[in-house]
């Protein structure tokens, strides 16, 4: 469970986040916003990578503002697969799971087989196609069994055919392991395919909406802060 309250962030004079709030239960929530709207910054603040100016972040009821990223138990799939090029796909996937490898063997097999990675585990990142890179990136984030997962437009660089193929697989594995997910995107179709609920982000403010279509209306009709 995730709760973020009153998150504010500015870079110099530019206000990026203005009192942003979000709550997340065991669901996949799409966070929809325009380019440059502060979506990545918001996720990085939740993950502890970027420091907020104001606001509170709770994970499973515990305030984590003062914890570094490595202690927050958050999975993070960035905008680019950002694989460790010097490691094989398998070593990438297992990178965060080193401590309890025995215990997570079943989990490892489950995740890699749903994501269809069994065949490519021996390969190096540069030998993988874009779609497989993002599968590895997701598996890598899941293996330490984080409390919540943040996905930042993980398929933004890929064409529609690959996205249509990969999205259901992503959803399948996330539903199977029942993890709360905040899924950032600016594509309505992608949001519909992926999410259970939707939120629109506009000039650093976030509000809940009932459908991806409504979220798009919300972000397109605004030319200034809500």
């Amino acid at each position: 469970m995730l709760k973020a309250e009153g998150i504010c962030k500015r870079y110099g004079n530019q206000i990026v986040l203005q009192q942003a709030n979000i709550e997340l239960d065991s669901e996949i929530k799409a966070l929809i916003g325009i380019n440059g709207g502060g979506k990545s910054t918001f996720l990085k603040i939740i993950a502890g990578i970027v420091r907020e100016d104001q606001g509170k972040v709770y994970i499973n009821g515990r305030q984590v503002n003062n914890l570094p990223p490595e202690q927050r138990k958050i999975g993070y799939v960035p905008q680019y697969p950002a694989l460790f090029q010097h490691l094989s796909a398998e070593e990438n996937v297992l990178y965060g799971a080193r401590k309890n490898r025995e215990a997570s063997q079943d989990f490892y097999e489950q995740v890699t087989s749903i994501l269809g990675l069994t065949e490519v585990l021996r390969k190096r990142p540069h030998e993988l196609s874009g779609g497989y890179k993002s599968r590895v990136s997701l598996a890598r984030a899941l293996l330490p069994q984080p409390h919540i997962l943040l996905m930042d437009e993980p398929l933004s660089g890929m064409d529609i055919i690959i996205r249509k193929k990969v999205l259901p697989v992503f959803r399948q594995v996330l539903k199977k392991i029942q993890i709360p997910v905040l899924y950032v995107t600016h594509d309505p179709e992608e949001a519909e395919l992926m999410a259970d609920s939707y939120a629109a982000m506009n000039y650093g403010e976030i509000r809940l909406v009932v459908s991806a279509a409504e979220a798009f209306e919300a972000i397109q009709n605004r030319h200034g802060p809500l």
Partner: protein
């Protein structure tokens, strides 16, 4: 038009000021000089001292640079980083006689008298320290440009996977910086080979003990054995060519992988 101007000045100046002096060395090579030099044990000990000291100095430069690049990556706001950044390039701008004098005062008889009559000065150790002092900044720059090229997301992900900054640095950043580490080492090594003033002031010019190729050439010119000086000089040119080609081959290899 402007292209013609460049044609007109670049090639003549380059040939005159860079290529001609090197050719002058090579054409002045003579058989007698070569024969006298290759049987001179002090020549070979200076070769050995040069290469050994330069390798150790470049290794030390790399170690210190790895530390500096860590601060550059993770602690840009810290006082340590700001101070180090200020001092980093100073040795490059200083006359190397000043560097030598500084080292002599810092590690000489006054402070390190317990080590011997001259402190740490006039030993092979002093040669290494002098070489390090003048070459460290080159290694540091190479590593900084290496860490600046890292994708920040790669580091972010490693953090969320449980690594603290030091762990990320050793497990992800450094393994991906092969090219920067290699060129940092080679640049520091070649700068170390070429150092004369700081080495001679702090390390001395004791044949067989602290004499390096640069000071060997100097001594041979001074005593009038010009033919031996030329032989040693051409040897230096060959050594430099070898190092530069290593650099090119190394970069090429990393570019491919």
């Amino acid at each position: 038009m402007s292209k013609n101007i460049i044609h007109a000045f670049f090639l003549p100046l380059f040939l005159l000021l860079i290529v001609l002096p090197i050719l002058a060395l090579v054409v002045n090579l003579d058989k007698e000089g070569i024969q006298k030099t290759i049987i001179d044990p002090f020549f070979w000990s200076s070769v050995k001292n040069t290469i050994l000291a330069a390798i150790l100095a470049a290794g030390l430069a790399l170690v210190v640079s790895i530390g500096f690049a860590y601060y550059h990556l993770f602690h840009k706001q810290s006082l340590v980083y700001k101070m180090a950044n200020l001092f980093n390039d100073l040795p490059i701008a200083l006359p190397h006689t000043v560097a030598g004098l500084a080292l002599l005062l810092a590690f000489g008889r006054k402070t390190m008298g317990f080590l011997g009559e001259t402190g740490a000065a006039f030993t092979l150790f002093a040669v290494i320290i002098a070489m390090f002092f003048v070459s460290y900044a080159l290694a540091a720059r190479a590593l900084i440009s290496g860490v600046d090229q890292m994708e920040p997301e790669v580091i972010d992900v490693a953090r969320t996977l449980g690594d603290n900054p030091v762990q990320v640095y050793f497990k992800v950043v450094l393994p991906l910086m092969g090219e920067a580490l290699f060129s940092g080492f080679v640049l520091a090594f070649s700068r170390s080979l070429s150092e004369f003033a700081a080495v001679i002031m702090f390390g001395g010019n004791l044949p067989g003990r602290t004499q390096v190729l640069a000071s060997y050439v100097f001594t041979k010119v001074e005593v009038g054995d010009l033919d031996m000086a030329v032989t040693a000089a051409v040897f230096c040119v060959a050594l430099s060519c070898l190092i530069l080609s290593m650099l090119i081959v190394g970069r090429h290899r990393y570019a491919k992988s």
